[in-house]
């Protein structure tokens, strides 16, 4: 099961964080720092899966932005690896060429997208048009 989803930039600043298991607010920062350090220190020729304590980190780099997902030991790494790609593709479709700034200023939309895709630590939807359906409906209401 998925434990958390993080988006961080190369400077290590958190841009998005979502936890599917209760973690204390004070411990989150420490956890994020360690996870980010693990991933940032790894080169291109090394694999994208890191074992850290009792869970695994799966990460993917998009320009200056890293997406890090913490999963439990039983999860299939490759499926998570592709899920990250799928998530970014959805963001790309919604924002049309997504950038770090888009994510910073439209945090609520990104959260809605993430909620559609992952619930309670499980992947619930991967169909791009269906993920975006509620969000576009809301946007229409806000406009009209």
């Amino acid at each position: 099961m998925i434990k958390f989803v993080l988006m961080v930039n190369q400077q290590g600043q958190t841009r998005l964080s979502k936890y599917y298991e209760p973690v204390e607010l004070s411990k989150r920062a420490a956890l994020e720092a360690v996870a980010v350090r693990c991933c940032l220190s790894r080169g291109k020729h090394q694999c994208s899966f890191v074992e850290y304590k009792d869970f695994k980190l799966v990460y993917r780099q998009y320009a200056a932005l890293y997406v890090v997902v913490g999963v439990s030991d039983s999860e299939n790494e490759l499926s998570i690896y592709e899920l990250i790609q799928n998530f970014v593709e959805v963001l790309d479709k919604y924002f049309s060429r997504v950038s770090e700034l888009d994510i910073m200023f439209n945090l609520d939309s990104v959260h809605i997208i993430l909620d559609e895709m992952i619930q309670n630590g499980h992947i619930v939807e991967t169909n791009k048009s269906r993920i975006l359906a509620p969000l576009t409906a809301i946007d229409k209401m806000a406009d009209g």
Partner: protein
């Protein structure tokens, strides 16, 4: 306002506490438009809304956070939404139900058929959402959902066949995540079940083929080989991520059959030299699995190499544990190697070591009294002395402690060594600043054991003087011991007899010598002892607000008192259990003696199992993992696979380097090949006698016969809904005349459940009802369950039933012989792990099984019932369906419950009824039923938490089964 809220979320994400803004979020939720509601907190009213988006949002939030207490209020609304025309609403409703199931399983019991409807929904989104529920359900109870396996297979077939709408495709692969999900469910279902797995093979083949479209795999007979081939492709892949996964998969497969690793020797060797630590680690994990006594040294060496460069604490701890495990597995092979390895482990692992590693190392050293052990000890002593003579300040504390212990116990083995020298070395440790006080204690203890004479005595006095004034009480005590014992050599010989050091010290664990003291103290008015958890409980109870009416606080305290009183008998019975255990141990000891003579046969048996049975299990377990991965993989690399496959996957290394690697490979994989030949040979050997098991006193035969029995036990045992002891292994048949043999098996450790095995030879054979008449006389008067046939094999039938005694449930196992020939002697070994486990957790959660078995009628009068009802605090309410069969529905329903669950109907008053039952004398549960609007409203109360919930669930099941 919305903007501010988003900023607050952002702040919280960055780690600042913004609890002050929560209340604003709630305010926001109650006003304004959809967007703001989304940003704020969900309110239940939303569900009544007709607006599509609002309902949708509400359901999303419901499935993310929801308090347990509110589920009954919201459940009908959510259920209603299951029939909504829009697919998105249906999907969300299913997910919300999944959440409900996670937090309170028994509240959604009655809507399981709705899940089935969702599974058959025409929209793939709804269907895939329902898979989450099924994955959870099947994980808990794989047997109950076997009938769904074909439909899962059909779904998978459709998905793989590309029947889904185009927009479900991800990089031209149809819904990879959905496939993974389905495969996971199938693997859970297929475990331990031949027939179900057979249905799946076909589809697994299909999806494999699709996933590996670019690879022309020629199909082999067994699935294992195919899986291995796929993995081969993975491991060879130049993409680093895939390589990692391939290694992982290989690790799983190799656990089942080490031969498979042979094909990939060279790749594995390459991975060992890979620059990425993670890959390296994974490779070591793989090697760890294929270790045998011939390649263990090489593998351990590789692991230690890795340990030296690794920095991560977590990895180190894990790996050190593994090295130690390996080293301990093969200690006698090379004494020096073993000690050296352990030394490296201790010095590298340092103080991160888990404490059980040094403990088991010391245990290994101290056990046994053969010549081999002596050599081992002697070598250990030598190496430690030389270590101490060098620079010992860098050694970790744990290692020093081990050294001290070994020197104290065994340095006398080396005749040429003066105890004084050792003492001097030890004293050097004491003076070191880095030594912790714990280490110093160990040092002093070692000194005490050494009993030096002559020159060193002065040194010892010196040391004990210094430390007897230490601030640390432990240190002070040890120093005192040392001082006194070193002065009085007679006393020392008595306290620390050297020759008897192997004999275990007898400890009176019941502390019976203190009984007198305790009773005296009690008589003098001291409070009786309470175990810590109870103290805690009482403390919290006294702190918490008293919600009960005042008059009731008294009975509670009385009950708690009675619990304390009851502590002492249980304590006694535990100690008696201990003594029972010890006899058991001696029994086992003789058994191991027996086994060691039959050691060869054991090995054979295990291999046979691997070939015959385990492989099949593996296939279903492994395959999903592999191809789940491969499904996604082909998505990613559809394009470049073609190009890559045409190339040779490994760049040819230079010849001499290659040779070196070959050498390493041969040292690593030695033994695997030889093992495989052994296995095929022995399999033949065994199948032969199996055909005609009627004659022969060959040990091998019966071993294999019962081995096969053992294999077959598990599946039928579960379907029968009864826990049968796993009749395992040893059986002997001899040509002697003895018709009935009764063997009392040792009682199960749980005090309440006694397993009694009474095998009856029943020459007339078969599972006729007369089996029940064979019940032992003292049990035949009591009520017993139906005798269920658990399994039959060749000419042996095993059936079981349970009998309810006053204070326990007795499980009776019948073994009947349905052939004409006489069965002369049976040896039965009962391994009742299952029972133990279930009852061990009894206080936390009573599994429904144990409840049905151990539930019994509690006979009460209406007045008693009234008094008890008020005193109990844990309760549950629920509506049950009534049974209509022409009679009064209330009476009919209660009849069913009475029959199935042994409840006692106290009284029926009009449309209401009161019912009682209990688990044990002190664990009653009361039930109040009332007919209301075509339903039976029940209200359960009990002093035991969770008991009402469980009983309710049992009632539901009992009524549904009709």
């Amino acid at each position: 306002m919305k903007e501010l809220m988003v900023r607050a979320i952002y702040c919280e994400m960055l780690g600042y506490g913004v609890s002050f803004s929560y209340i604003h979020a709630i305010k926001l939720a109650q006003q304004g438009n959809v967007l703001e509601k989304r940003v704020g907190v969900f309110s239940v009213i939303l569900l009544h809304d007709t607006n599509l988006i609002e309902v949708c949002m509400a359901l999303t939030v419901v499935s993310q956070m929801f308090p347990k207490d509110m589920i009954p209020a919201i459940l009908p609304l959510v259920e209603e939404k299951l029939n909504h025309p829009k697919e998105i609403i249906r999907r969300k409703a299913v997910l919300a139900l999944y959440k409900f199931y996670l937090i309170a399983p028994n509240q959604v019991q009655h809507i399981h058929n709705k899940f089935r409807k969702a599974l058959c929904d025409k929209d793939p989104g709804v269907m895939s959402a329902s898979l989450h529920i099924y994955l959870q359900l099947i994980q808990e109870n794989p047997e109950g959902y076997k009938d769904l396996a074909p439909s899962f297979v059909t779904i998978l077939k459709q998905v793989v066949g590309g029947k889904l709408p185009m927009d479900f495709n991800y990089h031209s692969v149809p819904a990879p995540w959905l496939q993974i999900h389905l495969l996971r469910i199938l693997s859970l279902l297929g475990k331990n079940d031949q027939s179900t797995s057979e249905i799946m093979y076909e589809i697994l083949d299909e999806s494999l083929r699709r996933a590996e479209m670019n690879h022309n795999i020629t199909y082999e007979d067994t699935f294992l080989l195919k899986a291995a081939k796929c993995i081969g492709n993975f491991v060879l892949s130049p993409k680093i991520n895939l390589k990692y996964l391939g290694l992982k998969a290989l690790t799983y497969v190799v656990q089942q059959d080490p031969k498979l690793a042979l094909q990939h020797q060279m790749t594995i060797i390459e991975c060992l030299d890979h620059s990425d630590l993670i890959i390296k680690r994974e490779t070591l994990e793989l090697l760890f699995r294929i270790t045998n006594d011939q390649n263990v040294t090489v593998i351990v060496e590789k692991m230690l190499d890795f340990l030296r460069i690794s920095e991560d604490d977590h990895t180190t701890i894990d790996l050190v544990g593994k090295v130690a495990e390996l080293a301990e597995k093969y200690p006698y092979k090379y004494n020096e190697w073993f000690i050296d390895t352990m030394n490296t482990v201790f010095s590298l692992g340092g103080d991160l070591l888990q404490p059980d590693i040094p403990n088991s190392f010391l245990k290994l050293l101290s056990e046994g009294d053969v010549e081999e052990d002596k050599k081992l000890r002697l070598f250990a002593v030598n190496s430690y002395i030389s270590l101490l003579q060098g620079d010992s300040s860098k050694l970790p504390q744990r290692f020093l402690q081990v050294i001290c212990w070994v020197l104290g116990e065994y340095s006398h083995l080396r005749e040429d060594l003066e105890p004084g020298v050792v003492v001097r070395l030890l004293a050097k440790l004491l003076d070191m600043k880095s030594s912790s006080s714990e280490t110093k204690c160990w040092v002093l203890m070692a000194m005490t054991k050494l009993c030096p004479g002559g020159a060193a005595l002065a040194l010892v006095h010196d040391v004990s003087e210094t430390y007897s004034s230490s601030l640390d009480t432990m240190l002070r005590q040890r120093a005192q011991e040392l001082q006194i014992l070193s002065q009085d050599s007679e006393l020392q010989a008595k306290v620390l007899p050297r020759s008897a050091s192997m004999e275990p010290v007898e400890v009176d664990s019941s502390l019976s010598f203190l009984d007198g003291f305790v009773s005296e103290a009690l008589a003098a008015g001291a409070a009786p002892y309470k175990p810590p958890h109870q103290r805690q409980e009482e403390l919290s109870r006294s702190k918490a607000l008293n919600l009960e009416p005042y008059g009731l606080s008294l009975p509670i305290s009385i009950s708690s008192c009675s619990i304390t009183d009851r502590q002492s008998p249980t304590l006694l019975s535990i100690s008696s259990g201990l003594s029972g255990d010890s006899t058991d141990f001696s029994h086992k000891g003789s058994r191991t003696g027996y086994n060691s003579t039959a050691l060869k046969l054991d090995g054979v048996k295990r291999l046979w199992g691997r070939d015959g049975y385990l492989a099949q299990k593996e296939q279903t377990e492994e395959a999903p993992r592999i191809e789940a991965a491969s499904a996604v993989r082909s998505a990613d690399q559809l394009g470049d696979n073609n190009a890559l496959n045409s190339q040779t996957p490994n760049p040819t290394p230079s010849p001499e380097c290659d040779q070196e690697k070959q050498q390493l490979a041969s040292s690593l994989f030695v033994g695997l090949a030889s093992q495989s030949t052994v296995s095929s040979g022995s399999a033949e050997q065994i199948t032969d006698p199996l055909v005609s098991p009627s004659d022969g006193s060959d040990n091998l035969l019966y071993k294999s016969l019962l081995d096969s029995l053992d294999l077959d036990v598990s599946p039928p045992e579960q379907t029968a809904g009864l826990v049968a002891p796993n009749g395992s292994c040893d059986a002997e048949e001899e040509p002697a005349d003895a018709d009935v043999k009764e063997i009392e098996t040792p009682p199960v450790r749980d005090e309440r459940v006694t397993a009694e095995a009474s095998p009856h030879d029943d020459p007339d054979g078969s599972k006729d009802p007369s089996l029940a008449s064979h019940l032992p006389a003292e049990l035949s008067a009591l009520s017993h369950s139906k005798v269920t046939l658990l399994f039959s094999k060749q000419n042996l039938d095993v059936s079981a039933c349970h009998v309810q005694k006053e204070d326990s449930v007795v499980l009776v196992v019948f073994i009947s012989n349905c052939s004409d020939s006489f069965l002369h002697q049976i040896r039965l070994q009962v391994d009742s792990e299952e029972l133990e486990v279930r009852h061990a957790t009894e206080n936390l959660k009573i599994s429904s099984f144990s409840l049905i078995v151990s539930c019994r009628a509690l006979r009460l009068s209406t007045e008693e019932y009234g008094a008890m009802w008020l005193a109990f605090s844990h309760d549950t309410k629920q509506n049950l369906t009534l049974i209509h069969d022409g009679r009064d529905p209330l009476a009919a329903t209660l009849d069913v419950l009475k029959r199935k669950l042994q409840l006692h109907v106290v009284e029926i008053i009009g449309v209401e009824a009161i019912v009682a039952c209990c688990l044990q004398q002190d664990q009653p549960c009361l039930m109040h039923c009332r007919m209301h609007a075509g339903m039976l409203a029940v209200w359960l109360r009990s002093p035991v938490p969770d008991l009402p919930d469980c009983l309710l669930y049992c009632c539901q099941r009992a009524l549904q089964e009709l």
